[in-house]
Amino acid sequence: MPRIGSPRPEAPEPWEEKSTKAYGATAAQTIPYRQQPEDEPTELIFSGPCPRCHDPFSYEWPLVNVRGVESFGVTVYCQCTAEHPGRPDNVDGCGAYWNVAVPRP
């Protein structure tokens, strides 16, 4: 398991869509979020290093959608723009994803 705040490894992590308990636990300590807008928020903005690849990323989680899937809970997936071998076209991130517990605004 990578240490919190550890520098990015020299060799980029290969792209792989996976989730572990450790990703969520690490993210809960290293990736803060803010509500946007602050009054009557419509989305949560998570910003911090990915617990897998350690690249910084920003992730917007829609709290409400006009005519769409209503969201429950918060699932975050890495949206870094660093190179990750094997990553499909038109996709960002290293493939890591996890859940975090956020109080409902």
């Binding site: 989730s19 990703y23 979020y33 959608n65 899937v69 969201s71 859940n99 975090v100």
Partner: protein, 207 residues
């Protein structure tokens, strides 16, 4: 900035749902605008239908009604027109938006999508209001009492028979057509105590 209360592993289903929620956010404005343009066509059709029923010969109808109902019909027509124009403008704004500069750092444009959805609801409500008022105008056109003041009545005595009714425009020299559009005689304000009738009465021309 706040840290989450905790975290854990997510399932592939969680991931798919998250991707869908974010994709919906990106496309919500486009979807609302598409829905608004379809509604706009429908609302325009409804408005055309309602105005098509009321506008032709509206002026003649207003003049033919008793003053109170004539004013009511004119007012209803004006209010329906105002509602219809407002609905059209708001529906246009919902489907096309107002050009302005936007930031590029947010996914989709949720405030714009919310505004477009709000405009669409307003346009629908305004159109419904326009239809209701146009319906009232239609009712007035069909059922409101006609003004009797503008009609010319004549009482003609031919022998022992007195006849009363409107003077028909198709009367020819030598014959006066007293016309009641009803099939049976009835009492008319312009005829005093006489029942009006539809018959041709010979008259003597004085030269």
């Amino acid at each position: 900035m706040t840290l989450p209360a905790g975290g854990g592993a997510a399932t592939p289903n969680d991931l798919e749902r998250a991707k869908q929620a974010r994709a919906d956010r990106v496309s919500e404005l486009e979807r609302v605008r598409t829905a608004a343009s379809k509604w706009q066509a429908g609302l325009a059709g409804l408005l055309a239908l309602s105005t098509g029923l009321t506008v032709p010969s509206l002026g003649d109808t207003i003049r033919a009604l008793t003053p109170g109902f004539g004013i009511g019909l004119a007012a209803a027509a004006i209010v329906a027109l105002i509602f219809g124009i407002a609905a059209t403008i708001v529906a246009l704004r919902a489907s096309g938006g107002i050009p302005r500069l936007v930031g590029t750092m947010t996914i989709g444009s949720h405030p714009d999508a919310e505004a477009a959805a709000r405009d669409l609801r307003r346009a629908i409500n305004l159109t419904m209001a326009a239809l209701v008022v146009a319906g009232i105008a239609c009712g007035l056109t069909w059922f409101a009492p006609r003004s009797e003041a503008a009609k010319s009545y004549a009482t003609v005595t031919a022998g022992a028979t007195k006849t009363c009714g409107e003077i028909d425009a198709t009367s020819v020299p030598g014959r006066l057509l007293i016309n009641d559009k009803q099939s049976r005689p009835r009492r008319r304000p312009g005829c005093g105590d006489l029942m009006d009738d539809r018959r041709q009465v010979p008259v003597t021309s004085r030269r």
